[in-house]
Amino acid sequence: MADVVDLREAVAALVRDGDAVAMEGFTHLIPFAAGHEVLRQGRTALELIRMTPDVLYDQLIGMGAARRLVFSYAGNPGVGSLHRIRDAVEHGWPRPLELEEHSHAGMANRYAAGAAGMPCALMRGYVGTDLERHTRVERVTCPFTGEQLVAVPALEPDVAIVHAQEADRAGNVQLWGIPGVQKEAVLAAKRSLVTVERIVDALELRPGGVVLPGWTIDAVAVAPGGSRPSYAHGITRRDNDFYRQWDAISRDRERFAAWMEANVLAAVAA
């Protein structure tokens, strides 16, 4: 059974310097509160894994918490660039960032392989693009049909961190709306932390809901609004204005640092 604990305690127990950390949530349920707690606790040299780094990883990378990024689309959706990630890649500021990039299909299949306990996943793709030469894929031949496929290596993060709408007192979790790759990320990871909007007496099963039994999770922490400026379907709304404002905040190194100091480092965990 997952322990229902304080967010500070959960991050202190589960996230270590140098870990490969996957904070997932595909354009929805992005675990901002937990990511900010990782920053406040000063974790460094992380390998950050995430399909769409989004504003959350722009913040972690801009603060110098990461040495490596594994991803498939590093943009601010509908707005433009993630300026802190670009600054790290283009100018090594505040420190150089090693990249390993894939396509969305590649990343999703890598998580699914990790969840399945398989060493790799098979798919079509990569062949005939420059991505093939710059990332970790290998061509394989289907033993039944002879078709040329590619194998992508399983993702097995040290820690997966996701946000969900609710958990019961035994730490069983349910999320609904856009499900992304959270189930795969939690099942693929060695350790996992789920933040939730609320604790309920009993989970009420929802259409399309994804349930993670408490025994698949190490810790559950209550963090109301913990995915803002992303959102929790049915509970909070995506703050599109903030995503637009982030463009100007993150463009300038000093303005970014001041914003992070005032809004993240000086803040207290939920």
Partner: protein, 228 residues
């Protein structure tokens, strides 16, 4: 106006189509417009996992909650790519890119050298496998020599399934493996399209002119944009 005709031309390309895969921005506007004016049964796929979304407004992100609330089904990312896109269940894909070459190959990864890029772009996202899985790919891009280049800095996505490139100046279609100008928008000369293309552009023997926007198309598009 040149932006409007591009969106309207893209929406028209979805007449009679069953389904379309779209990202944010102009492709999304065009597909929603197509549902309003030409094809109310068109099924919209967003890579966030929403199948059959019926947005009333143009979403800022593919994860906007209106997409999930109005969808026929909402699926995981692995399911979206492995069960829906991969086997070709989505008829048309709209894609954008920072660079397009004469083979309709696309770059959305870097400008400059990969190891030390001048501009780091967002990266592949879903594009490579969408372009591989969908039988028809329509590229929507602004027409300038910066975008339509002789040589891509990085080949992110193959143009093998591309059926049309719709720009703010006209329409290019592959002829014997090379993008060829087949239509210009009203008021645009072939010469202007040539100047906005970074290679020696091949021009069809007879170049059509895009039909003027109808009052219905313009009114619907302006209403959609005004919804914000």
């Amino acid at each position: 106006m040149s932006g409007e005709i591009q969106t309207i031309a893209a929406a028209r390309s979805l007449r009679g189509k069953r389904s379309v895969f779209i990202g944010v921005g102009r492709p999304s506007t065009a597909a929603i417009l197509a549902r309003m004016v030409h094809n109310p049964d068109l099924v919209l796929f967003y890579e966030s996992g929403t199948i059959g979304a019926k947005p009333h407004r143009v979403p800022l992100s593919i994860g906007d909650d209106e997409l999930a609330e109005t969808a026929d089904a909402v699926v995981s990312v692995a399911e979206m790519f492995n069960y829906w896109i991969g086997p070709g269940r989505v008829e048309v894909a709209f894609l954008g890119a920072a660079q397009v070459d004469r083979h309709a190959d696309l770059n959305s990864t870097v400008i400059g050298d990969y190891a030390g890029p001048r501009t780091r772009l967002p990266g592949a996202g879903g594009a490579p496998e969408i372009a591989l899985g969908c039988p028809e790919v329509v590229v929507i891009a602004p027409h300038s020599p910066r975008t339509f280049v002789e040589r891509l800095d990085f080949k992110t996505t193959s143009g093998a399934h591309t059926t049309a490139v719709i720009t703010d100046l006209g329409v290019l279609e592959p002829r014997d493996g090379e993008l060829t100008l087949t239509a210009v928008h009203p008021g645009v000369s072939v010469e202007r399209v040539r100047e906005a293309t970074g290679w020696e552009l091949r021009v069809a023997g007879s170049v059509a002119t895009t039909e003027e926007p109808t009052d219905e198309e313009l009114a619907a598009l302006r209403e959609l944009v005004a919804r914000g």
